[in-house]
């Protein structure tokens, strides 16, 4: 499959770089520690939050910059001259991003198990679906018509960091006021955090099947938008 060749190229070119991998693990860990220190939160609550954040950051770390970077490095035209469509490139980018997201998720999973927590297998399905959904979001960021990776990074940070705070990572959604609950429904991260909590035996905010449905709906929305916008952005990248 042609998109697998694209994914392989992405992994070799952009993901298998020391700093990328290390940053993928360290960023969520530091954010997490910053909120953990001095607060008395239960371990399972924290590990679920860490897992959600790790998958979220990993799947949206590199995926937004691949397209502008390829425009700038002038490899995009070489790719587009091959018998493939824009969506092949997008699917390839998404597959690479999912792979990275899942790979990095192993770290908090093992950490949780080392602390004696046990996950139900639902978490695995959740991780795959969440990595897919967040990767689609990453590709939506990268559809901004620019060849400047820094511009796209800025846009994606402007969205990603606020999402962390409205997704029940640090404060359980159940304890938010009703307007807070409503806002949290806008973040796809909310649903994966909820799945992670449920998989550790905690009570979830929504029924788990609804969490899955919401992730699927967000993925579809992001994906369709990303393909449309990337097709439009192509010309300004050449």
């Amino acid at each position: 499959m042609k998109c697998l060749a694209i994914a392989k190229k992405d992994i070799l070119m952009y993901y298998l770089k020391g700093p990328v991998v290390i940053f993928g693990i360290l960023l969520p860990l530091f954010l997490f520690l910053a909120f953990w220190i001095g607060r008395n939160l239960p371990l399972d609550f924290l590990v679920a939050g860490l897992l959600a954040m790790t998958v979220f950051f990993a799947s949206t770390s590199v995926s937004p910059v691949v397209a502008p970077w390829e425009g700038q490095m002038r490899t995009l035209e070489r790719l587009m001259a091959c018998p493939i469509s824009v969506s092949t490139i997008i699917f390839g980018d998404i597959i690479a991003s999912i792979t990275f997201g899942i790979g990095i998720a192993i770290v908090p999973l093992l950490l949780g198990m080392a602390f004696g927590l046990s996950f139900s297998f639902v978490v695995l399905v959740g991780i795959v679906l969440a990595a897919f959904c967040f990767s689609c979001l990453g590709l939506l960021f990268s559809s901004f018509p620019t060849n400047m990776p820094s511009t796209v990074m800025m846009i994606s940070s402007l969205v990603r960091f606020p999402l962390i705070f409205i997704s029940g990572i640090f404060i359980p959604i159940q304890s938010l006021p009703s307007w807070g609950k409503t806002i949290s429904l806008l973040s796809p991260l909310t649903y994966f955090t909820d799945i992670a909590r449920a998989s550790l035996g905690m009570s979830s905010f929504l029924p788990v099947y609804l969490d899955f449905l919401a992730l699927i709906a967000f993925s579809g929305l992001f994906l369709i938008l990303a393909i449309k916008l990337h097709e439009r952005a192509l010309l300004s990248r050449l």
Partner: protein
């Protein structure tokens, strides 16, 4: 049989009309040259024909497949060397070739066989496992050519394949183009007249998004209106005015095309005497494709 057909292609970028109704046909097996000054619309034409961008209006077909509606099929039978593009610097030459081969849907063993052949032919086989980052410009361009040829395409698009290369590398690439031309149709854009003269069976001259003419290099040269070109330059400012003569001015030089050089030179000398200007240099040569090119662009203005 026509393997490339363009019908009335129009493309604008904002207010700039890059292509203003371009039509031509390229026959199977031909080397078709696309010659034009900077910004004439050569790259835009190549991008439309190779399915990278869509025309605003007009049609183009590759092997009978419409480049807009049947893009993938049209692209399948072509190989492309884009004007400014790069291989992946952090991948090896081999990995780059395998990537492109997969994107053409080639089988692994077929791709490997073809890659080895090409790398050997282009003299970079020994370096196949080093990252492209360390390649010289000439080596990179050779690799880009290998990437354009990996799928053994019927039609090859080369957008200024030798620009920016030193004489030796450019010469090697031209040699390769000649050997590619033996079995494939080649669409070549260039600024370089000698290159076009050497390689092409037919040349289209394009200026400001319009085709000025399509003809063979030899006929283009004969169209300048004389068998001999006389180049003359004068000291001081003076306007060469000689009746019934075919004069073109380039910078501080005049070029006169004539079939009767003796008579023409006499008249130039008379002109110099009458107007009391000095002749700095005068020499004769056969008209080149460049003369044809500049003359045709002059007429176009």
């Amino acid at each position: 049989m026509n393997v490339i057909e363009a019908e009335n292609l129009v493309k604008s970028f904002g207010k700039i009309k890059a292509l203003d109704g371009i039509s031509f046909k390229v026959k199977k097996g031909q080397v078709f040259g696309f010659l034009g000054p900077n910004g004439a619309g050569k790259t835009t034409t190549v991008r439309i024909l190779t399915g990278i961008i869509k025309p605003d209006s007009g049609k183009a077909r590759i092997n009978g497949f419409d480049v807009v509606n049947e893009t993938i099929k049209a692209k399948q039978s072509i190989g492309v060397l884009p004007e400014i593009s790069n291989a992946y610097l952090d991948l090896t030459a081999w990995q780059n070739l395998m990537l492109i081969a997969s994107l053409y849907g080639m089988q692994k063993d077929e791709a490997e066989k073809r890659a080895e052949e090409l790398l050997r032919e282009f003299g970079i086989y020994e370096r196949r496992n080093t990252r492209v980052r360390g390649f010289s410009k000439g080596m990179k361009q050779r690799l880009m050519l290998c990437m354009a040829l990996i799928s053994d395409p019927e039609i090859v698009f080369l957008d200024e394949p030798t620009s920016g290369l030193d004489v030796q590398s450019a010469r090697m690439i031209r040699g390769k183009v000649l050997s590619i031309a033996k079995e494939k149709t080649v669409f070549l854009t260039s600024h370089n007249m000698d290159e076009v003269n050497l390689l092409c069976d037919e040349v289209a001259i394009i200026s400001k998004g319009r085709l000025v003419t399509v003809d063979t290099p030899e006929r283009l040269k004969s169209r300048v209106g004389g068998s001999i070109a006389i180049e003359v330059s004068f000291g001081g400012k003076s306007e060469l005015r000689v009746d019934e003569m075919n004069v073109v001015k380039y910078g501080d030089k005049y070029v006169i095309y004539t079939t009767n050089p003796y008579q023409t030179i006499c008249r130039i000398v008379d002109f110099a005497k009458q107007n009391n200007v000095e002749i700095i240099s005068i020499n004769t040569r056969t008209p080149t494709l460049e003369d044809a090119f500049l003359k045709l662009l002059e007429v176009e203005k």
